[in-house]
Amino acid sequence: MPYTLSADALEDARLVRSCRRGDLDAFAELVAKYQDGVYGVVYRMTGDREEARDIAQDTFVKALEGMGRFRERMPFRPWLYRIATNASIDYLRSARRTRQVALESCAVGEDGPVAHVIRLEPRASLREVPEQAAIDNELREVVNRAIDELPEQYKAVVVLHHLEGLSYTEVGKVLGVPGNTAKTWGTRARALLCDSLKEVV
């Protein structure tokens, strides 16, 4: 399907072409332009600042390595965010597996079940929530916790659409699903948040 690129996307395409010629300044320009967006997506998805920094860095490295496969007629931002989102989801799945293994290995010790001694630390996002002037601290914490508990795809839609301002069409491109599916996930995510936040909203 023909895709009309905005002036901004055309500028990105120019920078990508320069990168392909080995222009490090062009790459630095792309990093400067999208660092907040990529880091924001990854941090919101993972809830961990250190991991977010590493995953966001890895996102840009993977983007550079893959620029040969990038189709210039497509917008760069969803392509970049797709790498970031997939890396975040991979991390979440890996972290979940690790937690699961830890729980299983602790669940039955030589002296019987010891699961009761496990103390799960609160997620980093609950400790390190950034300043948000528009809503108070308590609501902010509750909202972040509710977002954290969403299924991965729903969380990705909320982060990409509401927090990063991507359209549902762009969110669909990031997640590799039709825009309408992304919209459905967004609506159901809000419905789930509505349930989680019934004490405060």
Binding site: R53, V61, E65, G66, I135, H162, L197, K198
Partner: protein, 130 residues
């Protein structure tokens, strides 16, 4: 993806939510009548709207200081696009082929000169000739 049961307590409201998400206007109209009449659903939809507003009000999280430098510091030759590396290999191949071709021409010219017996230098090209 496994669906979590919503707590609207109203099956038609859930269908309306799906219909809205899918952008199916006819279904939306069909269910929206019910939503406007049902006080529970109306309250739920209003809360959905509030949640959307709360989400939209949340601020973006900026990258840490010096993040760009942190990224570019991790870039080495291996990270450059594969097609750029391909260009490098292609250029190397072209240079190599040109060198082989030049050598072949030189060898050919020397053989021709040996066969024709023309091994005297051209005086007009000699340095210092008058």
């Amino acid at each position: 993806m496994a669906r979590k049961r919503l707590s609207t307590g109203c099956e038609r409201a859930e269908k309306a939510i799906d219909a809205m998400g899918e952008g199916k206007r006819s279904k939306v109209v069909l269910h929206s009548r019910h939503i406007h009449r049902c006080p529970d659903c109306a309250v739920y939809m209003a809360r959905m709207q509030t949640v959307a507003e709360v989400l939209d009000e949340m601020e973006r999280v900026p990258a840490p200081e010096n993040f760009a430098a942190f990224v570019t510091a991790g870039i080495g030759p291996a990270q450059w696009p594969s097609d750029l590396q391909g260009h490098g290999r292609r250029n190397l191949f072209i240079v190599g082929a040109a060198a082989v071709f030049a050598m072949a021409v030189a060898v050919g010219v020397s053989r021709v000169k040996r066969i024709t017996g023309d091994d005297t230098p051209d005086d007009s090209l000699a340095l210092g000739s008058t």
